[in-house]
Each structure stands twice: as structure tokens, then as C-alpha cells.
């Protein structure tokens, strides 16, 4: 220990700074929150959580799950913003997207973020899944969390597929016409799934309404339940150990 005086003093300094910042935050929030904290005692829980050491083997490969969640949050915020101007009808969908892009203040920015977020989240979620796979972190006791993660990945794919139709442009329309036929290969009930999805024989208003409902209500609710499960299990089981 005597060989490394600088390392030790740096560690002490680091601890002192963290403590000072924490005390300041407690003071600032305590003025308002103090009364509540006497009943709820979140402060102790928070300080415990904040001081938890992060193991050395956690390198940048471990950040893709968090980045995926960050992009998911960006998609929620930009998606709700787009919802304020988007009109899900065959006559008006395309015009409303043009209006958002060209007229609404920062509409191009919000739509751009939603567009790129949809693409980037696929990359980050795949990198996250590959990291978990190559580290063998999907094995028991984290086996059920892998299944939940897979369900989340499929919900992202359906997010992408359903959201692609909403701008009602030529590419999104025809990609949906082709893509919506794929479930027909499912044995016995394939044709029924396709009919349920499109709401008829052609991709029209009913299909747009259904894809809109899937994209903005059904999937977000499912994804949030799955995310909650995913995070609760991570919290309970911790980060997988080093290889």
C-alpha cells in the first residue's frame, strides 16, 4: 500500500467529492422532500444504490442495452410529439407527414429523430443481444430474462413494420402489401392472420387504422410491461460475472 500513496489519496478525494455532491443534493431536495423522506426513507435506498460498485469487467460492450433503452425513450418522446400532428387516414396521412416535415416548427427534427431512432435501435438491440450471447449471460439464472429480451426484440421488429406504413408513401404502402402476405405461410390459420392484420382483402383504411393502433397503443403497452420485467430481473440477478 505504501508504494501507491497517490492512488490512495486520489481514491479518498474521489470519495470526498462524491459525498459532498451527494450532501448538496440532499440539502437542496431535502428542503422540499425532507418531510416525505421521514415517511418513505428513499434517501437511504438512493445512497445505497448510488454507492454500489460496478465490477471491472463491465466494459463498453455492456452499454448497448442502456443505449437501446435511451433510444426507446427518444422514440416515445418523438412519437408522442408526432402524434400531435399526424392524421391516420388514407386521405390525410401523407399530407400530415409533409406538413410535419415542412411547416411544423422543428417537425423535421422530431421526425428525423424518430426515423433514425427506429433504424439505430435495431442495430443497438442486435449488438446487445450478441454481447449477451457471446458472454453466455443468457444461461441460468438469467434464462428467463433472455426470453423476455427476445420478446422485446420481436416487439421492436413489429414496431418497425407497423410504423413503416404510417407515412402512407409509395414505398411504405407496397412494402406492407408484400410483407403482410408473409404470415399466410403459417399452417392452417395463415390466411386468417393476414385478414386480421389488414382488416380486409387489400391494404386500405382499415389496415392503416390497425397498424396505427398497434404502433401507438398496443405495442407500447406490451413493450413497457416487458421492459419492466427485463429491468426487475436485471436488478434482482445483477450483471453477469466476468468470463
Amino acid at each position: 500500500m505504501a508504494d501507491h500513496p497517490t492512488k490512495d489519496s486520489r481514491a479518498t478525494y474521489r470519495g470526498e467529492t462524491a459525498k459532498a455532491v451527494f450532501n448538496l443534493l440532499s440539502l437542496l431536495t431535502g428542503t422540499v422532500y425532507g418531510e416525505l423522506d421521514e415517511r418513505l426513507d428513499f434517501r437511504t435506498a438512493l445512497s445505497r444504490a448510488l454507492k454500489k460498485p460496478v465490477p471491472e469487467h463491465v466494459n463498453f460492450w455492456f452499454c448497448f442495452g442502456g443505449i437501446t433503452f435511451l433510444i426507446f425513450l427518444i422514440q416515445v418522446v418523438t412519437g408522442i410529439s408526432l402524434l400531435l400532428y399526424y392524421r391516420p387516414t388514407v386521405e390525410q396521412a401523407f399530407a400530415s407527414v409533409v406538413h410535419i416535415t415542412n411547416t411544423v416548427p422543428f417537425g423535421w427534427l422530431v421526425r428525423g429523430f424518430h426515423h433514425w431512432g427506429a433504424n439505430l435501435i435495431m442495430i443497438t438491440v442486435m449488438l446487445h443481444a450478441l454481447r449477451v450471447f457471446f458472454h453466455g449471460a443468457y444461461k441460468a439464472p438469467r434464462d428467463f430474462n433472455w426470453v423476455v429480451g427476445m420478446a422485446l426484440m420481436f416487439s421492436l421488429l413489429i414496431f418497425g413494420f407497423s410504423g413503416y406504413l404510417l407515412p402512407w408513401n409509395e414505398l411504405s404502402y407496397w412494402a406492407t402489401v408484400v410483407g403482410a402476405e408473409i404470415p399466410s405461410a403459417v399452417p392452417f390459420i395463415g390466411d386468417q392472420i393476414v385478414y386480421l392484420l389488414k382488416g380486409g382483402d387489400v391494404v386500405g383504411q382499415l389496415a392503416l387504422t390497425r397498424f396505427f393502433a398497434i404502433h401507438v397503443v398496443i405495442l407500447p403497452v406490451c413493450a413497457m410491461v416487458l421492459l419492466l420485467l427485463h429491468f426487475l430481473m436485471i436488478r434482482r440477478l445483477g450483471i453477469s460475472g466476468p468470463l
Binding site: I74, F113, W168, I182
Partner: protein
């Protein structure tokens, strides 16, 4: 890369008492030593462990019914056999064992002989400098914030340099020439085209077999932890799952590129 082991965090030289030790004496000993668990040693063998929780439970039991054969000694209330963890095991093992058995103390052994105690508190103690580990706040959080800002920066650059495309409005009466799905569906799309090689088997074959093979791979992916029962996590020691994973990844990239350039 150093791994934090149970031995790094345990309390050495566990205090032990004889099974005949009276309960108040055990409690006094715990208070004097500032510990919450004692090993129970009969002659030269360790036979069990008694913790503060055991003593508290005993007080409750005594208050609820005063039976004449109420436990009076450590030997009556100890947990036996002891739950143990090897000294060289990763710290993680200790916490996983504690969670699994709902206990807060484990006996640390070296070649089977008790050499220390690790408590849940040893795992939490923020003051202990875990070798190589960094505190979540502020060190790790700083890295997370940097990663988050980089992500937002990359997105901002993409949005400005390559805005979301504005194509023509959909027209159900005119089909454009080249319809391709989004890139993340390209691999599946191209695979269904590739499945045309099954046509010699019959008119039905390409579509049904194409979807069936993709469905099978999907099911294997979802149920991977239940199919791959090999407990080893090192990539070199699980060749079959590695082969499956790498070939799936390469197939995905390959079919995506093929779909993109065809």
C-alpha cells in the same frame, strides 16, 4: 483483469462457540465483537452457524409460548449444516448463494475448512475498495452519460446530414419497380426468395419451407437457454452454441447484403 473473490471481502478468523453456549452469552459475544454470526464448533469440527436472526426468532418463540423444553443453548437453534462458499469463488457466487437460500451469512471455506465468514453487509459495504471495481456514482454514471451524449450526437448528425426521406404518396394503382422492405427485414425477405431452390419439391415448397426454416431458427433463438444446457460461459468451451450463433450472425449479414445488392 482481476476478479473480486469471496476471500477479498470476507471477515477472517471466524469467532466460534461450543454448542453448549447459553443464548445470552452468544448474544453478548456478538455485541462485543461487533458481528452478527458465530460458528458453532463441537470439539474440533464445525457443526453449524448461529446468527442474530436466529436469536431474534428465539426471543419471539419464547414470548409466544413458554414451553419447558425451550431452547437454551446455541446448539438448539443453530443452522446445520452450514451453507458454504469457497474462498477463491467470485464475489458474485456469494451473493447468488445468499439470494437463493434467503440467508445473509455464508461460511467461507478453503479446501473445505472454514476460514472466514462473508455477510450480506460485506457485499454492500461501499467503503471497501473492491479491486478494479468503480463506484456507480459518479464514476460509472459519467461513462453512461458520455455514451448517452454520443448516441444523441450521432442521431443529430444523421438527422441533419441525411433527413428522413420524403417519397411520393402511396398509389394503390401503380406499383413501383423495386420494392424492398426496411433493411432489418431484408435478410428474411432475401431468404424467402432464396427458398425458391425448394421448388422441385412442389409448388407449395418454397414459401412453406422458407417460413418453416426461419420459424425454427427463431424458436431455437428464443429457447436458447433451455436448449443449451452447457453451464460453461467461456466461448471456447461451448463450440456448438458458438457455431450456431456465428452462423446465424453471418447468415443475417450475408442475406442482408445479398438483398441490398440484388
Amino acid at each position: 483483469m482481476s476478479i473480486v473473490t469471496v476471500g477479498d471481502m470476507m471477515s477472517r478468523d471466524p469467532v466460534s462457540v461450543a454448542p453448549g453456549c447459553a443464548l445470552p452469552d452468544a448474544a453478548r459475544l456478538m455485541n462485543r465483537m461487533g458481528i452478527r454470526s458465530l460458528l458453532v464448533k463441537d470439539q474440533d469440527t464445525f457443526v453449524g452457524i448461529v446468527t442474530g436472526t436466529d436469536l431474534a426468532n428465539q426471543i419471539i418463540a419464547a414470548a409466544e409460548g413458554d414451553s419447558p423444553d425451550a431452547p437454551r443453548t446455541v446448539g438448539d437453534i443453530m443452522s446445520s449444516p452450514m451453507l458454504t462458499v469457497e474462498q477463491g469463488a467470485p464475489l458474485r457466487t456469494a451473493s447468488e448463494e445468499m439470494v437463493r437460500h434467503h440467508v445473509r451469512h455464508l461460511v467461507v471455506t478453503l479446501h473445505g475448512n472454514p476460514v472466514g465468514i462473508i455477510s450480506a453487509r460485506d457485499l454492500l459495504d461501499p467503503e471497501v475498495d473492491v479491486p478494479g471495481a468503480i463506484p456507480f456514482w459518479p464514476n460509472h454514471l459519467l461513462k453512461e452519460v458520455v455514451a448517452a451524449l454520443l448516441t444523441i450526437g450521432v442521431m443529430m448528425a444523421l438527422v441533419v446530414l441525411s433527413p428522413a426521406p420524403m417519397l411520393h404518396e402511396a398509389d394503390p394503382f401503380s406499383t413501383p419497380n423495386h420494392i424492398k422492405p426496411e433493411w432489418y427485414f431484408l435478410a428474411a425477405y432475401q431468404f424467402l426468395i432464396f427458398a425458391d431452390i425448394f421448388r422441385p419439391l412442389g409448388e407449395w415448397a418454397p414459401k412453406v419451407l422458407g417460413v418453416a426454416i426461419m420459424g425454427l431458427v427463431t424458436v431455437i433463438m428464443v429457447l436458447l437457454p433451455f436448449l443449451d444446457r452447457n453451464p460453461d460461459r467461456t466461448p471456447r468451451k461451448r463450440p456448438i452454441s458458438m457455431l450456431f450463433g456465428i452462423s446465424c450472425t453471418l447468415a443475417f449479414i450475408g442475406f442482408t447484403l445479398w438483398g441490398h445488392f440484388s
